[in-house]
């Protein structure tokens, strides 16, 4: 199973690299879909069908919206030469990436290998979940009962994102 996941992740990396260097923006957006659909296959191999359903639908709608945006604006990417301000920004971004990568490796060193053993909190959740919540689908039981605050936060985040989109995209004020 690890070999299959490695092959799929290799394809995803190839698609991401191509989508950065593509001349036509439409082909770049469509190539970016390889990353999302490869992620769906990885979720199915790791036995997470709930995530796979959400990912495949969101990826499709995301692709539709991005294609609509590209067709509305231009299909050519605009290039500009770097000036001194641009070099300072590039160096700052590089330093921030190195620092984040260092702390990422430090914080993930203590975790188990993915899928090898269940995490520590998973045991008490799995043991009596069906009896405690009355739900046959354990994921829904955890998401809406044990972790109700998280789910409410996600719903509120979505509302805030829509408010931001409406505020930015509205060019004329309401009468």
């Amino acid at each position: 199973m690890e070999l299959t996941i490695s092959i799929v992740i290799g394809f995803m990396i190839l698609g991401a690299i191509y989508s950065i260097h593509a001349k036509d923006l439409l082909s770049a957006v469509i190539t970016c879909g390889i990353v999302g659909y490869g992620c769906v296959i990885c979720f199915l191999l790791l036995k997470a069908p709930d995530l796979a359903i959400v990912q495949i639908v969101v990826e499709t709608i995301n692709l539709i919206i991005m294609v609509a945006v590209v067709l509305d604006s231009s299909r050519e990417e605009s290039y500009s030469k770097l000036d001194s301000q641009g070099y300072i920004s590039a160096i700052t971004v590089f330093i921030i990436m190195v620092v984040l990568l260092y702390f990422f490796t430090v914080s993930t060193r203590s975790l188990d290998v993915l899928g090898k053993s269940t995490l520590r909190m998973a045991g008490p959740y799995i043991e009596g979940a069906a009896a405690k919540t009355g739900s046959a689908n354990l994921v829904t039981g955890v998401v809406f009962d044990f972790r109700g605050y998280d789910t409410m936060g996600e719903a509120v985040v979505l509302v805030t994102a829509v408010l931001g989109v409406l505020t930015i995209l509205r060019l004329k004020g309401k009468k």
């Binding site: 709930d50 809406f144 109700g148 979505l158 509302v159 509205r170």
Partner: protein, 145 residues
């Protein structure tokens, strides 16, 4: 934004209803099978996006529709918060307490308040995704007038 050819319109008439019903199935069986409020909501939004793309932007009378989706989204979010707070008032002083009778595991009507959360989160997600798509069309047409 104009509609597409008659082949696409006829195919959409056949398929859009089935996609909508599948989204409702995923939401209603969220506590029994894989899926739930988020997945089903996005599927329902996909049905509306398909109709808008096929029939053009005049089909839904867009400005009015935007007001309706905003109302649905806000009211559904408020109802989710209210159901969570009702657990604090009725139960043992805990937010998101599952205070309704749980029933038999595996029945369609079971698991207390979980199906209610699924339904309202599904409504909210469907309205949110659809309004993001609509706002890309509406505001451009408004600025062109």
């Amino acid at each position: 934004m104009e509609g597409m050819t008659i082949i696409v319109k006829k195919t959409t008439q056949l398929i859009a209803g089935m996609i909508f019903m599948y989204g409702i199935y995923v939401i209603a069986h969220g506590h029994l099978t894989p899926g739930g409020g988020f997945a089903g909501g996005v599927i329902i939004a996909g049905a509306f996006i398909l109709i808008t793309l096929a029939f053009g932007s005049d089909f839904f009378k867009l400005v009015k529709e935007e007001m309706g989706t905003t109302m649905v989204e806000s009211i559904a979010t408020i109802i989710v918060v209210l159901i969570g707070s009702a657990g604090f008032l009725l139960g043992t002083k805990i937010f998101f307490n599952n205070y309704l009778p749980k029933g038999i595991v595996g029945d369609l009507v079971s698991a207390g308040t979980l199906p209610l959360y699924n339904i309202f989160v599904g409504m909210e997600v469907a309205a949110s995704i659809f309004i993001i798509f609509l706002s890309l069309i509406i505001f451009k047409e408004e600025s062109l007038k």
